[in-house]
Symmetry: C2
Subunit: 281 residues, 2 copies
């Protein structure tokens, strides 16, 4: 069994990314807009800011009051849409429920949409467009697989989970990579049968240790997108790693797998946006 | 074996649609923008215009020169975006290659996007949003299945074909209907194995008679999206109907199946847009 080591891939990818940043004629700046102060959002933002610093990328962290009006959020986004110093804009999700996420995300200029969640980028992902900015988890998985020379062409991929932010973008990315893709979810009958058929099984359902030996056959590649904190404060994925690790061919650990790739992918997206901008000038 | 009769469903759905139109406080108008004069586009537009007339819907057919500049096309679209009489806008595809389809489609106001191809509507389809305008073929199939009380919930659906206009919207629609969905295409290994596993097999690859008895098992429901004209001038689908009709449980004929539903779905979309507009006023 081989571990697909997200930490290693991230470390090895860093120098290349830093080189691409150095070759730019400007220092990119990322604006992160946060509404409220959810602890999980705080942690994700901290990770992005620290990674930005490591890469020599400027960042602006805008913290807005939890009860802010929608129009005020849109004003902030428009300000950074018009600020030529700012290359990328992230609105940290989830937003408080009084805000309309669709309208707020749609307000981000697609050419600054680091998360790939604006309608134009989603459409480009559906189209398989060359310059689609792909949501970070999907892009991170693609990069991890490429590092280990796992080509999805013609492979059978089963994605468990169909969220808009994670499951569906992963499925579309795999389809664009020429895999035969099956999407399973809570309404799927015979999940075990579906998961066993996969050459590559990607799990993104947010249920700790849900996938066990009953779902697995020998020789599979398993990508675990889940990450949940357990009562004993340890982190675990959607896959029962200990139970299946000796059956599978390759597997991502949690932590140290997909999560490592996701933050990297945000900045790969940002640097792509820099180059697209240069090309269109 | 039962025939899923698109013509019948369309006829039975018409009175309900006409009733919805009568209940509006205005007569809807559809603008169809055509660039050039491809014979296939001519035929599709003719079908839409004649159906519009049948429904008591006004239509404007704008024929633009094949060599028109992109900015001029955008001007025409903007004119109808701003025309409150016009409820829906269709840009007939494909466009001549000197035009950028992405930019042109994106110029249509999402609130007039009868074909459901603007980025916002594609994103809403991905999201499973209640007010997504679903591309006509996908919506037509959904309506056909509902008419025959075929509930996709928990069913295994295999979609063969992954085009942006047809295959992918169908797959996303089925996923939103809670099916377990597999998307196959030209790079799929063991296609026969994949198609046989389906409860509902939907074929949209544009290869006449491609699916034959080797791809089918008894008891399946088969939806044939293809339609090609043969040398003898007859129409045929992607499925070899004669060869498999006695094996399957239900099947759409060609012609008289999905094609009938597609034109209907365009106008179901148009009438939805009328009601969304009323609600937002």
């Amino acid at each position: 069994m081989k571990i697909l080591d997200g930490k290693l891939v991230r470390e090895q990818s860093l120098p290349i990314l830093i080189e691409r940043i150095k070759n730019l004629s400007f220092v990119p700046c990322l604006a992160i807009i946060q509404v409220g102060n959810r602890p999980d959002s705080d942690a994700f933002i901290r990770a992005k800011k620290s990674f930005a610093t490591k890469l020599g990328i400027k960042n602006i962290h805008i913290q807005l009051d939890e009860k802010i009006e929608q129009d005020k959020v849109l004003e902030v986004i428009n300000k950074y849409n018009g600020d030529s110093e700012v290359i990328g804009i992230i609105v940290q999700l989830p937003l408080p429920i009084h805000l309309n996420s669709e309208i707020i995300i749609d307000a981000i200029s697609p050419s600054k949409d680091v998360d790939g969640l604006t309608p134009l980028n989603i459409k480009r992902l559906v189209d398989g467009h060359d310059e689609a900015i792909i949501p970070a988890t999907a892009r991170g998985i693609r990069q991890l697989l490429k590092f280990y020379n796992i080509d999805l062409f013609g492979k059978k991929v089963t994605v468990v989970g169909r969220s808009t932010l994670v499951g569906k973008p992963i499925a579309l990315m795999c389809l664009n990579e020429n895999a035969t893709v099956t999407v399973c979810h809570s309404k799927t009958q015979n999940l075990e049968e579906e998961t066993k058929k996969a050459d590559v099984l990607i799990v993104a359902i947010g249920k700790p240790n849900f996938i066990d030996r009953n779902h697995i056959r020998k020789g599979q590649i398993v990508i675990d997108v889940g990450i949940s904190r357990q009562l004993d404060n340890s982190l675990t994925g959607d896959v029962n790693y200990e139970e299946i690790k000796d059956m599978v061919d390759m597997i991502t650990p949690v932590p140290g797998g997909v999560g490592q790739m996701t933050v990297l992918a945000v900045f790969e997206n940002l640097v792509d946006l820099c180059y697209y901008r240069n090309n269109s000038n």
